[in-house]
Symmetry: C2
Subunit: 451 residues, 2 copies
Amino acid sequence: MRLSRYFLPVLKEDPKEAQIVSHRLMLRAGMVKQQTAGIYSWLPLGYKVLRRIEQIVHQEMQRAGHIPLLMPTLQPAELWKESGRYDAYGEEMLRVTDRNKRDLLYGPTNEEMITDIFRSGVNSYKDLPLTLYHIQWKFRDERRPRFGVMRGREFLMKDSYNFDLTKEDALHAYNRHLVAYLRTYERMGLQAIPMRADGGPIGGDYTHEFLVLAETGESEVFYDSEITDLSFGDRQIDYDDVGQCQAVLEEFTSRYARTDETHDQDVFDKVPEERRRSARGIEVGQLFYFGTKYSEPMGATVVGPDGAKVPVHMGSHGIGVSRLLGAIIEASHDDKGIVWPEGVTPFHVGIANLKQGDASTDSACEALYTELKARGLDPLYDDRNERAGAKFATMDLIGLPWRITVGPRGLADNKVELTSRRTGESQEMSPKDAVARLVQIYEPILAANAV
Amino acid sequence: MRLSRYFLPVLKEDPKEAQIVSHRLMLRAGMVKQQTAGIYSWLPLGYKVLRRIEQIVHQEMQRAGHIPLLMPTLQPAELWKESGRYDAYGEEMLRVTDRNKRDLLYGPTNEEMITDIFRSGVNSYKDLPLTLYHIQWKFRDERRPRFGVMRGREFLMKDSYNFDLTKEDALHAYNRHLVAYLRTYERMGLQAIPMRADGGPIGGDYTHEFLVLAETGESEVFYDSEITDLSFGDRQIDYDDVGQCQAVLEEFTSRYARTDETHDQDVFDKVPEERRRSARGIEVGQLFYFGTKYSEPMGATVVGPDGAKVPVHMGSHGIGVSRLLGAIIEASHDDKGIVWPEGVTPFHVGIANLKQGDASTDSACEALYTELKARGLDPLYDDRNERAGAKFATMDLIGLPWRITVGPRGLADNKVELTSRRTGESQEMSPKDAVARLVQIYEPILAANAV
C-alpha cells in the first residue's frame, strides 16, 4: 500500500477520552473511531489487524478439528426463554422489538442458538464429537463502556461450542481448545496464561481464563513465576490424542495461577516465596465446560450406543477477538507508539523515502516495494512529501516491526537502512539484503498463515 | 474435510416454507437454518460459500484501489438526523433504544457514517481520490421477508463510498466500480448485466443495477440480446486510466438494458425486433453517483486547489453478498440440486468411497484426499458408511462441480471415475490423472484467489 493513497487519519494530540494506553494509541494511530459510547468503526489500519487476528483464530480452531459457521447477530427471544436466561440476563442484553412487535435481542453470546442448531441437525451419538464455532459481532450493553475496544459494547468474539456424548469426551474438547488457544496467542506474540476461573452460578472446576499480564489489566492475578517460563512453541500435536491434549492441560495448569475471584491465599502460600507473583492481567479468552445446562432444558439429545436418548455434554469457549487488539498494544508499546508483533502487524514493513521526488530515491523505493510484494510481503510505502522526522514519527506510532529507510546518501553506496521498531537498532545493507532479511524474518509467519 | 466429521444436516424432504428453488435447495443442502423470519444461521456449508464470495468481492475491490474498513452494525440516531433520513426512512429501519435511553439503529446502509468518518479524517483535496468500503451485516425490517437469503432481514452487503473533488472524478470512481463488478460476478460464474436504474428521489442518470437473469427474478427486465454476448474475460485494466474505464462503461451500457422501473417502450422499439428480449432478473448490485447529497448537509468538505472549501462528490456502490448465494443457485441448479460454479464452490471436489471399510478402497481414498490437499485443493471426502446411491445423492444435492468415485472394481485396474456435476459425464482414469485434471481445472481459480 502507498500511504499517499491510504486512509490513515493519525492524530497529533492525545485524545482526551482515552484513559489507557491502548485506547490512546488506537485513536492516535487512526485505527478506530468511536461512533457512540462503546461502538467503534474500524478504520483501515485497525481493520487490517482485526482481520489478521481473526485469521489466526480461524486457522487454529480448524487445525483442532472445529467447524466454522456463522450465526446472526439478532436472535429471537423465544430461544432465551427456553433456557430461562431471557429474564435473568438483565440490562446488559440489548432487547429489540421489530415492526411486527416480535421480541428480538442482539446476541451477547450463543449457547441457546447453537443448541437449537444442534438439536435440529443431530440425532445420533455417531455424529459426535462435534465442535462448532463462529466469529461474530456481539453486543453487551455495558453500563460504563470504556477503555476503547477493550470494553466496547459491540465487540467481535470467537465462541465455540462442543457437543459430546460423555463428560470425558467433553473434557477432551476442553483440552483441544486449551491447546489451540496456547498456539493462537503465541502466534500473536502474546503470553496468555490459563488461570483457574470462577464457574459462576454453575460452579465446577472446569473453567479457565486466559490472561495477558499488563499493568493496566482489570483483574488482579496471582501466580507461580514458573508458569511464565512455559511456552507451547512449535511442537506438533495430534488433536485426536486424548493423552497428548491432557498432558498439555496438566503442564500449563498445574502451577498456581488464579485471578482475584478464585485466589486462595492458603494455597498460594505453599508456592515457594521467591516464585510468588502478583500482577495485573487482561482476560483474552475463557474455557468452560458446563455439562447439560442447556442441552437438558432445550432437549438437545442424541441416541446413545444403548438406544437411549441422552442430553449431550457441552462447553463454550471464547476468545475476545476485538479486545485482543487492545491487549496486544497494552503488552507491546513504548512512548513513541505501538510495537506490533510480526504475527499480527498490519503491514510487514514500512518504506520511508527520505527524498520524495528525487528520481533515484523514488525508483529505489518503487523497486523495493515491488520486490517485497513479489515475495509475499505486505509493505507500506510512505511516499508522501513529508520530512523524514514526520515519516519516522508516523511509522513509530503505527508500530510496524521493521522500517527500511531510503535516502540519496546511502543509495550512492547501494545502501538502505533496516530498523527494528522493537530495539531501535539500524543496520545498513543493500536493498537486496534488506529484502532477503525480511523474507527470512517473516518466513515462519507466512508459512503459518498459508496453512 | 471428512464428511463423517462435518456438520451437514441435509434434509430428505422439501421444506414447506420454501417458495423458490434457491431457498429450497439451501435448506435441503444444510446451508442455512432460519432462526426467525428473515434471520438465518449460516451452517458450515453455507458459511463456506459465503466466505468464498466475500473473498472475491474483497479482492476485486482492492484490485480497483479501494480501501477496506469496517463500520459497526449499530449506529447512533444523531447521524441520521443530520442527513434528514432518520424520520424519512420508515418502518424498514430497525430502531433500538439502549439502557441509557439513547436512540440507536441497526444500519440498513452507511452513507451517514462513512461521511462522518470522512469529514473527521480528510481536509484537503490532496487526499483524494478516496474510496472506502466494508462488508458488514445490515438489517432491513422487511414487511414480508421471503425467498430465503434473497430477501432476508439481516443480510451481508458490500457497500463502497467514493469521495472525489469533482463530478468527473466521481464518475471515474463509478466506472472503476463497474469494471470491478464485472470481474467480481464473472469470477462467481455469473453473468450480471448492468441496467439503467431508477435514481429514486435524487434522480439522475448515474445509477445502474446489475441483474442476473433467472426465471424467479423479482424484476422484469428488457434488453438487447447483444448484451449477453459481452464478457469482461481476463483482460488487463489500469484502474487509474480514466479512458480505459470509461470505455468499459460504454461497451457494457450502450445497448438497451433496463428494468421495468426505467423501461421505455419507445426506445426499446428501436432495437431490432429479433434482438429484443424480456425476462426476469435478480438484482445483485448497484452503482450510484449522488453528488453532494450527504456531503453538503453533513459538512464533508475539502479545501480545493484554490483554497476554498467545497463539499465532496460522492457515490455509493453495493453488492448483495448474502443474496448472491441465492442468485447463483437460481442461475445454476438442476432437478438433483445445486451446481456450483468452480469459483465459489464450497469444496472443489467430492470423493465418494463406494466401499467404506475395504482396506484398499479406503487407502486409495485417503491417498487421493491427502494428495488433493497437498496440491492446494479443498476436497470433501464422503467416508460415511452409506450406500453409493445415498453418497451420490448428497454430492448432487450440495452441488460440488466434480466428484471422484472410488470403488474396488475400478481400483483393480488402477481406475477411478471423475464426474462433472454440470454435464453428468464420467471418465475413467488413474487416481494420478484425476488429481492432475482437477489441478488443471482449478489452476486459474486458485491463482485468482492467491492475489
